[in-house]
């Protein structure tokens, strides 16, 4: 497949499409509690626009990979800078409520209600697998079922919750 080049890209579309993706990646890497995350997202977007405008995107890779590389480099720079200013940089917590950061509070409320309404066996599997953080094998051993069955049950529980999210959207 022929990749797009700088000249053939619509900048507005690129920003619209990639802002949430970059935001997600930045928050996952440095945590939404780090106050700089919004500035970093803006810097990355500015950098992407500059590179596209100056013809540095030559279509050797996909635009997604191009933006991912810029994002990754900026995050590494940020972490290195922070490591120099602090002797110890606290590890970002994996779940620093990116839901709120992404202004998906409503989605979180819907998810909460949907989980609450699930049958006990589905709630239990979500509890053990996600809340307690047990592996598939550990959950399987605990419930006396196979790891494959655990995956199926988790998948089905998520499907039910997602279905609820889509209906209410």
């Amino acid at each position: 497949m022929k990749q797009k080049t700088s000249a053939s890209l619509n900048l507005e579309e690129v920003i619209k499409k990639y802002r949430p993706v970059i935001t997600f990646k930045v928050i996952k890497s440095i945590g939404s509690q780090t106050p700089d995350w919004e500035d970093i997202v803006e810097e990355i977007l500015t950098n992407v626009i500059e590179k596209i405008q100056t013809g540095q995107f030559r279509g050797e890779s996909s635009i997604g990979t191009f933006i991912y590389t810029i994002t990754q480099r900026r995050i590494i720079d940020f972490i290195r800078l922070k490591s120099k200013s602090f002797s110890h940089v606290p590890e970002p917590e994996p779940y620093k409520s990116p839901v709120e950061a992404l202004e998906n509070k409503e989605m979180a409320d819907l998810a909460y209600q949907a989980i609450k309404k699930l049958k006990p066996k589905y709630r239990e599997i979500l509890y053990l697998y996600y809340y307690r953080g047990l592996t598939r094998e550990e959950v399987a051993q605990r419930l006396g079922i196979t790891p494959k069955k655990v995956s199926e049950r988790v998948h089905y529980a998520l499907k039910l919750v997602k279905k609820n999210l889509k209906i209410k959207k």
């Binding site: 499409k17 990639y18 949430p20 993706v21 997600f24 990646k25 996909s62 997604g64 990979t65 933006i67 991912y68 994002t71 990754q72 994996p94 779940y95 409520s97 990116p98 839901v99 992404l102 998906n104 989605m107 979180a108 998810a111 909460y112 989980i115 609450k116 006990p120 709630r123 239990e124 979500l126 509890y127 996600y130 809340y131 953080g133 988790v154 998520l158 919750v161 997602k162 999210l165």
Partner: protein
């Protein structure tokens, strides 16, 4: 609709269970696949809710899991109130005493038992005389 091969990695990515190269490959993928990114966002929202509000969401399961099984005595006392247990024990003691008493007085005295009695009476009288 054909399933994306990276879809199965969403969970492991969100739970931090991917190796660094796997994680990078997956991240690069979701920068290129809007369908996977959409699923990733949805799943992240659900897992975030579970992680942040799980204590409240799974209160009943947690309580059930952390309640130890009661001992037989606790189960009995739960079944019978303390007063009933006390009355039952007292009644059993009285019945036992009556049975032993009846048994003692109705028993024909054998030479060995009379010998035993004499010996015990003698030793008791000696003890008191001292």
């Amino acid at each position: 609709m054909k399933k994306c091969q990276y879809e199965d990695l969403i969970d492991d990515y969100l739970l931090g269970r991917l190796s660094p190269p796997e994680r990078e490959a997956f991240e690069e993928h979701y920068f290129n696949c809007s369908l996977c990114f959409q699923k990733l966002q949805e799943q992240d929202a659900i897992i975030s809710v579970i992680k942040s509000q799980g204590a409240e969401l799974f209160q009943d399961i947690y309580a059930r899991e952390h309640t130890k099984a009661p001992s037989w005595l606790e189960r009995l006392s739960a079944f019978l109130p303390y007063r009933q247990v006390a009355v039952a024990v007292a009644t059993a003691a009285v019945v036992l005493l009556i049975v032993l008493g009846i048994n003692y007085f109705n028993k024909p005295s054998s030479p060995s038992s009379s010998l035993l009695m004499t010996w015990s009476e003698e030793s008791l009288s000696l003890l008191f005389l001292r």
